[in-house]
């Protein structure tokens, strides 16, 4: 019987691995292991054997059955793979150059938002916190508390929109400095981003634009610290190292400075450069040490505290960073512009 079994086993193995398709394989399964299959028949014959023999043969038959089942499974997988491979190779190749069709195309952030956030994130890393203030302001916060009384010639530098004096649209983000200092005792380390408004509309001015203002107040801050912070900011924003500080005047800071960055186009060479008008430098903001009168107006002791403030126009930075040449395009909202960001 053993021989017979071994022969069946060998035959079945050969047949299984030469079955051409799943149907043939299924027929083989029925042929050997179906209700009337050969192995099933042999199993039925076991009951006629002596108990010793029956146990021995039972074990052998079971092993063969397991082996065949395994063979069938293996062959089944093989045949499936063959079929799949055929299907894959017969499929028409896609035109992979056709555009993708995910239902949602990503939108975009306005370049102003992007630059504003860049500046905020860079300054947050060194401990600045964001504060905001109202866009509709009082003259007190926008001017008087910033050492700019009525009839101060510096008020000419800013043409202000009024709602009803003394209520106005803030002409800079500096009133947020005042609100912050009135609200909190030193030390202070804040930035104030936001919209500002000036009554000016031409090629290089829009009646609304964006600024970011920084303020740091403590007992021992100097112009040297201001230089350090601004150099850090510009280095991270523009990946350029060269800044110059040029004496200037703002009513609310003294000493005051204009900050110029080495021209990113001509790299400071200043020859035939339209961007920097061949000066080699680009104005990017104003800054200075907080004027003692500003400290007095918020109840800080100017003998004890010192501090610095800086401000810059976001549009200006965005224009330089992205190579935008028309200021007004920021507020036209032409999709052909927006989709580039």
């Amino acid at each position: 019987m053993i021989e017979q079994i071994n022969q069946i086993r060998a035959e079945a193995h050969t047949q299984i691995f030469s079955a051409p398709d799943p149907e043939a394989l299924d027929r083989l399964r029925v042929h050997y292991m179906g209700k009337k299959g050969i192995l099933t028949g042999l199993l039925h014959q076991l009951k006629d054997l002596a108990p010793e023999k029956r146990r021995e043969m039972g074990a052998v038959l079971n092993e063969v059955k397991t082996n065949l089942e395994q063979d069938l499974k293996t062959r089944q997988t093989e045949l499936k793979r063959v079929l799949m491979n055929r299907e894959i190779s017969e499929a028409n190749p896609l035109d992979v150059s056709l555009p993708g069709t995910y239902a949602i195309n990503a939108g975009s952030l306005h370049p102003i938002t992007r630059v504003m956030n860049d500046v905020v994130q860079i300054l947050k890393r060194i401990g600045f916190s964001v504060v905001t203030g109202p866009e509709v302001e009082l003259e007190f916060y926008n001017f008087e508390a910033l050492n700019t009384p009525e009839d101060h010639p510096a008020r000419d530098m800013q043409d202000t929109f009024y709602i009803n004096p003394p209520v106005l649209l803030r002409s800079h983000t500096s009133p947020v400095q005042i609100r912050t200092m009135k609200d909190k005792k030193p030390p202070i380390q804040v930035i104030a981003p936001g919209k500002v408004y000036r009554s000016d509309y031409d090629l290089t001015h829009t009646p609304m634009f964006h600024q970011i203002e920084g303020l740091m107040v403590d007992e021992h801050l100097s112009l040297a610290d201001l230089k350090g912070v601004l150099n850090y900011l510009i280095r991270n924003l523009f990946e350029t190292r060269s800044l110059r500080f040029r004496p200037s005047f703002f009513p609310f800071t003294e000493p005051s400075a204009e900050v110029d960055m080495q021209c990113i186009q001509c790299k400071g060479k200043g020859t035939d450069c339209r961007l920097c008008k061949s000066t080699g430098w680009l104005e990017i903001g104003g800054c200075g040490m907080v004027h003692p009168n500003v400290f007095k107006s918020v109840g800080y002791d100017p003998d004890k505290y010192s501090g610095f403030a800086f401000g810059m126009g976001i549009e200006r930075i965005a224009m330089l960073k992205y190579g935008i040449d028309d200021l007004r395009s920021f507020f036209e909202n032409d999709i052909r512009m927006l989709e580039q960001f």
């Binding site: 866009e135 709602i163 036209e332 909202n333």
Partner: protein, 812 residues
């Protein structure tokens, strides 16, 4: 302020020193005296000479060109030089300017030997414009016939054409630099020279002093702290000498006559505006400085009539105004062709009032520009002397001496002490000594002496009215030492704010990012729009806030909603053939509110607009038209990610902008926090002129921010199997999905872990005014495996309650 380099040289000890304009400009700029431009800095007329055209031939290869032979040396045997010329107005024998190779003409135009269409040319015959000495570009500049051939052009034309003009952009704190003298003070140390000693001006005491001819009364020294009046006679009105005219023209002032020109000359020189009255017109014999008491009209010497108001400072002949003090003289007292005697006024007027008046009248004169920023009481007298001496010396005029001076003592110079430790603390210049600071200040005529190691006593000179306190001197020292020499430190972080103090910046940025990730493009619009725009879309109301001084009607009213601007942008882009638009904006809206300090409440809003189809590229999938539920889904997603709130949706209120049946008001509890829906078809057709549906939404971010999602509480998923069933029922069409869901949740309790609608059907088979709603229900417990029987039981109760409450019939 324009400065002529030649004029400046008059004030330098080494007046003929070599000066590199570009280098000087850079150094001044770095000292805070900002040079915005240099005119004619880069050309040299050195190689431009007087020449004569000897012969003219046609150019062999060009009809419009001629080949000339010129001489640039005197004498019969002078060498002929060949120059190709394109101008028409030349003839043999003409005396003309010749730019020889090596000349650099204005505009950095270097003349070189060249070949023009095959003919060699050794220079250029120049027009006045090419030389930068006149605007006339019509043809070659014809020089006087008697000119010496070979003479450098500069010596023929005088110095004027070889001047360099600096254009300064001065900060308002430096009125002293609105003068040649003031700028010379800043420039001398830069050039390592000193100011030239000015000659003492002396006048003979005349038998008639000014005070025997006229009187001067100043109503209040506060409005006029010093008034110097001088009578001068024996004058004859005529053209000024050339050197005065040239100087004035160089800095952009038109010469008028010798008297007016000299007052202007001294104003530019000293920074002190002067005025000359015709003595015959001072009929009362008394010049009175007073404020206007009753509004009246006044004719200026410009011919313009202005309305005077109470408070304006006037110069009066008795009680009759003859000048708007510090701004402009009157027509009734101006210098006439036959004027022979004048009263020369040199005075100081209250800056704030000059500023107020000139601003109100929009009259910004050279005089008012200076007075409104400050004055130097000492220079009031000096300028009067200077002008008088110029009038005397240039036309033998008779100066009545002494003058009337309402404040002979001028100004007292204040003395303040500065502590070097303060300078070091503020500037970061840790090493700077009192000696060094003293030297720096001294270099610009600010005298000081050292009182101790750290204390410097400084006399504040009258020519620097901007210097008042310690901090002004700290700035001077830092500026003169140079900001470049200030070291660079990195301050230690003082971060004291934490998340609880944070403003809405992060929240708003997160909202913007979410919108962007859901396919919307951010826009930014002006905060002010036209009233009509708001009205068109139903957002105009009594609470609108208008600007008092808008730039135009288009930018007059502060926005009460962001949607009108988005619709404007939609139209703008639609006109550029962009159908598919996804826009959003996050900005503040404005409304009156008495509770606010400014009476204006600012509320941050997030608004969006979607048009076109849901999916973008149409080559594969069937386009799905956008509808209400798409934009609702967007809003729900947004709010779910930003906040922890549950919004509810009710029929819309603004049915001007929204389709009345396809829009909703968004509510948070009882509070209205926004709106969304499809645009009203009438608005779409009439205003936007499109047939595309447009979806809008607007959300009040201030209301939502209170529920900002700052953290998430994690719930362990159930370990027990879920049982899912679908139920469909027929209800009246007006029953809302929300009501059915709430009812099911109420009945299902904790075990109904999720329920969602998956189909809505309306059709004849279920009867008119009915609809079928199909829901997918998931039952699951956190504690145990649920039994079929209890689910069956729960399902039956849900059906019973729905039937009782909403008349829902299970659909079979």
């Amino acid at each position: 302020m324009l400065l002529s380099l030649n004029w400046l040289r008059d004030y330098l000890a080494k007046s003929d020193m070599k000066i590199d304009p570009k280098d000087l400009a850079d150094k001044l700029t770095m000292r805070g005296i900002h040079v915005a431009g240099i005119k004619r800095p880069s050309f040299s007329l050195e190689n431009v000479v007087v020449g004569q055209i000897k012969k003219i031939d046609k150019h062999p290869n060009a009809d419009r060109l001629q080949v000339t032979q010129v001489v640039t040396k005197a004498g019969e045997n002078a060498e002929l030089i060949q120059i190709v010329c394109g101008a028409k107005n030349i003839a043999e024998g003409d005396i003309v300017p010749i730019a020889l190779p090596g000349s650099v003409l204005p505009g950095d135009f270097e003349i070189k030997k060249s070949t023009i269409r095959g003919v060699e040319s050794f220079g250029m015959i120049c027009s006045g414009k090419e030389l930068g000495i006149s605007e006339d570009s019509e043809g070659i500049l014809q020089l006087p016939k008697h000119s010496v051939i070979g003479q450098p052009l500069t010596s023929l034309l005088g110095g004027g054409s070889n001047d360099t003009i600096f254009e300064f952009e001065l900060t308002p704190n430096r009125p002293d630099c609105l003068s040649v003298l003031g700028l010379a003070r800043e420039i001398a140390p830069v050039l390592k020279t000193k100011l030239r000693e000015q000659k003492q001006i002396k006048f003979k005491i005349t038998p008639h002093r000014t005070s025997s001819i006229i009187k001067v009364e100043v109503e209040d020294p506060a409005i006029c702290p010093r008034y110097v009046a001088r009578v001068i006679d024996g004058l004859k009105v005529q053209e000024s000498p050339d050197w005065i005219k040239q100087r004035l023209e160089a800095v952009g002032i038109r010469p008028i006559n010798n008297i007016v020109d000299i007052t202007n000359f001294v104003m530019i020189e000293y920074g002190q505006p002067l005025h000359a009255f015709d003595l015959r017109k001072i009929q009362s014999g008394t010049i009175k400085v007073a404020t206007c008491k009753t509004p009246t009209n006044f004719s200026l010497l410009s011919g313009e009539s202005v309305g005077l108001e109470v408070g304006d400072i006037l110069i009066q002949d008795g009680d009759r105004p003859i000048a708007l003090a510090g701004i402009m003289g009157g027509e009734n007292s101006q210098i006439a062709a036959d004027t022979t005697s004048i009263v020369l006024e040199s005075a100081a007027f209250l800056s704030t009032q000059i500023r107020k008046t000139s601003k109100r009248l929009a009259l910004h004169t050279e005089s008012s520009k200076r007075f409104e920023k400050g004055f130097d009481l000492a220079v009031v007298a000096a300028a009067s002397e200077r002008a008088a001496s110029l009038l005397r010396d240039s036309m033998n005029a008779n100066v009545y001496h002494p003058p009337i001076d309402t404040n002979e003592y001028g100004a007292k110079e204040a003395v303040i002490s500065i502590d070097m430790r303060d300078i070091r603390k503020i500037t970061g210049l840790k090493e700077i000594s009192a000696e060094k600071a003293g030297e720096l200040l001294d270099s610009i005529d600010i005298p000081s002496h050292k009182k101790s190691v750290n204390i410097l006593s400084v006399r504040l000179p009258t020519h620097r009215p901007d210097l008042k306190g310690n901090v002004d001197l700290i700035e001077e020292v830092a500026r003169l030492e140079g900001y470049d020499s200030i070291p660079e430190y990195f301050p230690t972080s003082l971060a004291t704010y934490d998340r609880l103090d944070e403003t809405n910046f992060d929240f708003e940025f997160r909202a913007k990012n979410l919108c962007s990730s859901m396919g919307l493009r951010e826009t930014i619009h002006y905060s002010f729009v036209s009233e009509d725009l708001l009205r068109n879309y139903g957002f105009a109301h009594d609470g609108m806030i208008s600007l008092k001084n808008p730039l135009s009607d288009e930018m007059k009213v502060l926005r009460t909603s962001l949607l009108p601007s988005l619709l404007q942008t939609y139209s703008y882009n639609l006109n550029r053939k962009v159908q598919h638009q996804r826009l959003f904006e996050l900005a503040r809206t404005f409304s009156w509110d008495d509770k606010e300090e400014t009476k204006v409440k600012e509320t941050p809003y997030l608004a969006g607009l979607l048009s076109g189809n849901l999916s973008g590229s149409g080559w594969k999938d069937k386009p799905i038209a956008l509808d209400f539920y798409h934009v609702k889904g967007l809003v729900e997603n947004l709010v779910r990610q930003l906040t922890t709130v549950k919004l509810s949706f009710e029929s819309s209120k603004n049915t001007t902008i929204y389709h009345p049946n396809r829009s909703a008001t968004i509510k948070l509890g009882l509070k209205e926090v926004g709106s969304l829906g499809e645009i009203h078809p009438v608005v779409r057709d009439s205003i936007l002129e499109t047939h595309e549906p447009v979806m809008l939404f607007e959300l009040n971010l201030e209301a939502l921010r209170k529920y900002e999602r700052t953290t998430t509480r994690y719930k362990t998923p159930s370990k027990f199997p879920a049982i899912e069933i679908d139920l469909a029922f027929v209800v009246d069409r007006n029953i809302s999905c929300h009501a059915v869901l709430e009812n099911m949740k109420h009945t299902g309790g904790e075990l109904l872990s999720d329920v969602s609608v998956f189909d809505i059907y309306e059709g004849e088979s279920i009867g008119a005014s009915k609809k079928s709603m199909a829901f997918h229900l998931t039952f699951q417990s956190l504690e145990r495996t649920l039994q079929d029987s209890e689910i069956q039981d729960l399902k039956n109760r849900i059906l019973a309650n729905l039937k009782e409450k909403h008349g829902a019939e299970l659909r079979s």
